[in-house]
Amino acid sequence: MKILVVDDEEDVRVLFEQRFRREIRAGEFDFAFSGSGEEALEYLKGQDLEAVLILSDINMPGMSGIELLRQIRSKSPTSPPTIMMITAYGDVQSHDQAMALGANDFLTKPLDFTELKQKLKSSL
């Protein structure tokens, strides 16, 4: 199962790789990283969507996480991939919008990696 992390922040890759070093080494998690919505859609073209879990930030330059979600769900409203949205603290409007568009879960920054780890394990 590929976990595609979509975030315009480069340090997210570093953070995830260091935070889940053991899980990555153990082969429990396999991360891929995209810096934008467009890049993510390009990546998804050659992937088996059932084997992908998308973890996407909402506020990004260019295509936002919400737009990415809308485009993915417009093609297959109920089918995979599993999509978890991440946004800044207390952005209730984005939460409601994402859930309405078919997001599977919602996380707020700063990420609670313990909680994230549990959610990822339960989703894989």
């Binding site: 922040e9 340090d11 953070l15 260091q18 935070r19 506020n59 800044a88 603290y89 207390g90 952005d91 209730v92 409007q93 409601d96 920054k109 700063p110 990420l111 990696f113």
Partner: protein, 669 residues
Amino acid sequence: MKKYICLFLFISTTNVLFAQFFKAVSVDSLKNELTKAKHDTSKILILDKLTAALTASNPTQALRYGREAWALASKIKYDKGKILSALSSGQIMLNTSDYAEALNKLLEARYLAGKSQMTKEIVNINLKLALLYTNRKQFKSALEYLSKAHLVRDSLQIPDLDYSLNQTSGYVYKDMGQFQKALGFFKNAYQNLITKKAAHQLSTTSYYIGSTFSALNQRDSALAYFRKSLSFQAKFHEGRVYYGLASVFKASNQLDSAIFYAKKALTRSNENQFIPITVFSAQLLSELYEKKNDLKSALFYTKIATAEKDSLFNEEQIRQIERLAYDEKERELIIQRRSEVHQADLEDKIKIYGLSTLLIIVLLVLFFLYRNNKIKHKANQILHSQKEEIDTQRAKAEKALQDLKATQAQLIQSEKLASLGELTAGIAHEIQNPLNFVNNFSELSIDLAQELKEEIEKVSIPEKDKEYIDEIIGDLTQNQQKINQHGKRASSIVKGMLQHSRSSSSEKELTDINALADEYLRLSYHGLRAKDKSFNSDFKTDFDINLPKIEVIPQDLGRVLLNLFNNAFYAVKEVSHLEGVGHLGKVLVSTQQSENQVIIKVTDNGIGMSEATKAKIFQPFFTTKPTGEGTGLGLSLSYDIITKGHGGTLEVESTEGKGTTFIIKLPYI
């Protein structure tokens, strides 16, 4: 008897005004007019003309017409007619020596003329009365009437009267024996007539001048004027002119000529019923015949003279004249008294009219003063009411200005806060991500340090180095913890900032404000007590039980109330710290409704605020609390919730050292 004889000498002159009646008026035509006259006044005037026309030729008939005119004028109360009639008839009576009736008529005419203010007639009447008294040898009275006539003439300047005045004056003075003075008046009279060419009057005046020269014994002059008088062919005068000529001839002892003219005088005077001349002529003839020793003729003429004289001066007539004179004095006294009474009445009337006029003027002045005062009072009232209105409007304007200034200040504050809020929200978003990394990486580093320590345990290194490595790892861990701690603190601040920009998703709902305030008050108090067991404060509520439920977002309003309560309890706690446990803090929460508003007041007796603090209290990040105890966003957030979220106002009243009151006003409809 002698005095009466002297009187006869002058009675012949009584027609001094007689000539004016000799008018070229046909008696027959006047009689004809009389029969056709329709009105009584016209009749009276015609009768008067007939009287004048017949005076010389037929005095008896003339007097009859005169009496008829008088009676008719009396009947219709036509005073002018009576006056004219009295003048005409009076003249005839003077000519015929009927003095008693003449006096009676003239006095009444004078009274009526005075009443009617007929000035010219008054002068003529006075002149006739002067003649009458002259004939009666009562010169004092004669001069009085003459003087009155002169006075009136001088005051009115009536030239027509000059002849009559001169003629009468000459007559009076001649009779008084002042011949030169008389001659002067007669000559003046003659001069008055020259231009008028009045033959009869010239004849009369010439006769008087001649008779005056005769009295002065200037016989030639006398004869010349007598002859001039005869040249005017005034038959009425011929009797006395002949008598004058006879007298002059007698004086020059020309007896035959004197007898000739004396007989002519007797004949003419008999024709004209001129009794005095008849008497004088008869007496002169008797004397002349006596001188000529013709005693028979002398006796004859003596008898004639005696008979005529008796008819002229009988005792009864004398008494009557005296009685009339007395009556006239009485009448004058009565008239004078009446005049005095009339004058007094007039003065009284003038006084009454004057006083009445004065009273009316005073009343008018008072009325206008009252009116002016009333107008002024009304104007003052209007001004006063206008001033009050202006004051009211000014007060309203000032209040509106103050409200406007307050609203403007509030608006500026709102705008400032809004822009600041938007700015901080933007900043918060930007800071949030790096902070997240700081927090995440610091946590991760703590875990990594722990892993490093565990990994080092697995390798064999000298104890001394191991201890050093442990110490460094310990310091790194501690540093990471500090980074994480402060990162989270910063994150907390950012969270508060983000709350400003976050729009509430909650819906407004009808809420019991009293219950909400009570719930959050207790929550605040017990929350503070949980953190600080030493904290104690009194709190009370004063809720309006009739307060209506209003549409609010309960979570947001609860957050505001919690903020205000926390601040209030914090303020009283500060005083307790400063003043010791003796000070008991008090927090009062009250609600009330006013003009479609619900008002919530949160009052404390805490440390209060300075003016400078009050000015900044709603600005974000402004706080008086020590570092770490407050973010400075509570009141700023509360302000936004009340003003933007609910359309209300949040105000603060505070006195430094005494306490603070926050006032929330929420509109409801």
